[in-house]
């Protein structure tokens, strides 16, 4: 089991119901790939450094996951099919690279 970050940028102009559908879809995709959600960080609408699909804003969802290493592609392919998912980035966490000292 490896820890991953799953960064999703959604369409910024979704209403609450649509948002719930998207989140459920994402969570199902994670579950189907055998992953478990450790935390969900929801940034909400945030201004980006450049336009994505002609919008300067995006709805940010940051999941921290734990799952088997060969399952990331399964999540990515299923999520990329969604129209409201505009950007997806899966990053493997590197705790051994951390430099900040905890006090």
């Amino acid at each position: 089991m490896v820890n991953y970050d799953l960064n999703v940028i959604l369409n910024p102009s979704l209403d609450a119901a649509q948002l719930a559908v998207e989140k459920e879809y994402i969570e199902n995709a994670i579950k189907n790939a055998g992953g478990t959600i450790v935390t969900l960080d929801e940034w909400g609408n945030r201004r980006m450094a450049y336009h994505i699909k002609k919008d300067r804003e995006g709805y940010y969802l940051i999941y921290k996951l734990e799952m088997a290493a060969d399952q990331t592609n399964a999540i990515q392919t299923s999520l990329r099919l969604r129209d409201h998912v505009r950007r997806l980035l899966v990053v493997r966490q590197r705790p051994e690279w951390k430099t900040k000292k905890e006090k």
Binding site: I9, A49, I62, T99, K100
Partner: protein
């Protein structure tokens, strides 16, 4: 190692000793040794969500700054570059920014 621990006093002999200076082109310039903020444990290299921190390491036009400007050591510079590129992918940092002239 010794470079990080040296005190940053205003001593004129105190300079960045990466390259031997005094090649006949201009006067010798004393320079304060730069400290790698990642090595001292001040900042986190792997944190690609912290756009504000990463802004320190890119130029006004959005390029990654060379480590001779920022003082980051070689290992952390490689990791920092990866972190900046990830932040760009999720729209937290610009790939390029127009330079505004007044």
């Amino acid at each position: 190692m010794a470079r990080e621990e040296r005190k940053t006093t205003g001593n004129s002999r105190d300079r960045d000793d990466k390259k031997p200076r005094g090649n006949g082109k201009g006067p010798k310039r004393p320079r304060k040794p730069k400290v790698d903020p990642f090595k001292t444990g001040e900042l986190e290299v792997t944190d690609y969500h912290d756009a504000k921190m990463l802004r320190r390491f890119i130029s006004d036009t959005g390029k990654i700054l060379p480590r001779r400007r920022t003082g980051v050591n070689a290992k952390n510079q490689r990791r920092l570059a990866l972190t900046i590129k990830r932040a760009r992918q999720i729209g937290l940092l610009p790939f390029m920014e127009k330079l505004v002239r007044r």
